[in-house]
Amino acid sequence: MEEHNIIKVEGLCKSFGDLQVLNDITTEFKEKQVVSIIGPSGGGKSTFLRCLNLLETPTSGSIIFRDVDLCAKGVDINVHRQKIGMVFQHFNLFNNMNVMKNLTVAPMRIKGMEQDEAEAKAMTFLKRMGLEDKVTSYPSQLSGGQKQRIAIVRSLMMEPDVMLFDEPTSALDPEMIGEVLDVIKQLAVEGMTMIIVTHEMRFAREVSNRILFLDGGRIDEDRSAAEFFDDPHSPRLISFLQKVL
């Protein structure tokens, strides 16, 4: 498999006031790879992920998405965000729209897709997830697991090059975690490039090509999934794994 970089991160720093959250991070994400990010709370995982699509503006450094430096002046970030899907811990479905509208509003408004086409496409996704009976439901009428799967479909509707997940199952009741993880696993099989912040260790090991340990604003370990758990080097990762496993 030829490996193209989709996202390259160079010297990324991010501070909130005096608090330096990300400290000179350099790494890259290759096409069709699934990379998980693991680390202690407050380590900067969310901030890192949110820097990738510029929901947070990096203090310094650059995010290069398909050869375009997103931080450069004159770059229309909105165009690039269309190609970077994001799934949030708290789903963030548009509360004022029903499921169908949630799925079709962006392709129609941003890409100019026809309504019929957008709805047909949404239906295909919904059927695949067994959620076709929810088309007219509003987010408040869905379970957490259903919301998150719809949120994933909402991103997929834009046919992103890469998907970012920020703890997609952390707000779910235990019995619903499986259905969401299955969707993500399926995406991995289909070759979607994904960067996943998660606390689900077994899932990370199963689905990832590579795992990063992000602690204190640095990438402390960057290994293949198996090595990450079986042969960790960083003392902090070792003690972290002892705590969580």
């Binding site: 269309q82 970077i84 899907g85 962006a106």
Partner: protein, 231 residues
């Protein structure tokens, strides 16, 4: 004559004074809230915009207006505007038009500040995640506002605006001091004619109450209908 009898007699003889007052009170309140909403929206936009001087200006305005008595503002407008050369013309078919306008301007200026806060808090009470989701999918700021944030904010804002209308109905009684013939002014007129202040005030109170009661019932109905339109 008993108290209620007096009320009945006064009403029978002087009801046009009261009705005229009710009409003017409603006109003033409605105009003030409409203008307050229009300018309050602009003020809220300024209050939240990224250009610091505009934001400061809006904050200063809102804080100042909310931190000073309406009575003072009213006097200031009524006596102050003519001094700086702004005078409302007299219109023949609306008696006392210039006074009326001064009252409406003062009430609007006041209402504008409160409305701005209502709108701002309505927008800010929409979960931040909504904006983030909209932006992350590629919507511009304005589109995100229009498609996602504002429709949700309106659900919070409309009921609060209704309450603002109720408040303005009550507070507008103050314009009687500059001689605008609102309900309070009419009441004072009848008191001067009859020397019966308590029954007259009771009539005024009941009429204000009917106005505010009906308004808040209507608002509650509206609120309920919007809830069915889903959160």
């Amino acid at each position: 004559m008993g108290f209620f009898e007096q009320i009945a007699v006064i009403l029978q003889r002087y009801y046009p004074y009261f009705l005229d007052g009710v009409k003017n009170t409603l006109i003033i309140a409605a105009m003030s809230v409409v203008l307050g909403v229009v300018f309050g929206t602009l003020m809220a936009i300024m209050r939240m915009c990224r250009i610091k001087p505009l934001r400061w200006l809006a904050i200063a305005y809102i804080e100042f207006v909310r931190g000073t008595p309406l009575m003072v503002q009213l006097m200031f407008i009524f006596y102050g505007l003519p001094m700086v050369g702004i005078e409302f013309p007299d219109v023949s078919f609306i008696p006392n038009f210039s006074r009326f306008m001064a009252g409406i301007v003062a009430m609007s200026i006041n209402s504008c500040a409160y409305v701005a806060e209502v709108i701002r808090s309505g927008i800010q009470s929409v979960d931040e995640g909504q904006m983030e989701a909209a932006r992350s999918i590629g919507f511009k700021y304005g589109e995100s506002m229009r498609l996602v944030i504002l429709p949700q904010a309106v659900r919070n804002i409309l009921p609060a605006l209704g309450n603002e209308f109720v408040t303005v109905i009550k507070e507008s009684s103050i314009v009687s001091v500059i001689g605008i013939s609102d309900l309070m002014y009419g009441t004072n007129g009848v008191i001067a004619l009859t020397y019966r202040s308590l029954p007259c005030l009771a009539i005024a109170a009941i009429m204000y109450f009917i106005l505010t009661f009906i308004s808040s019932r209507l608002i509650a109905k509206l609120e309920k209908r919007m809830k069915h339109g889903r959160a």
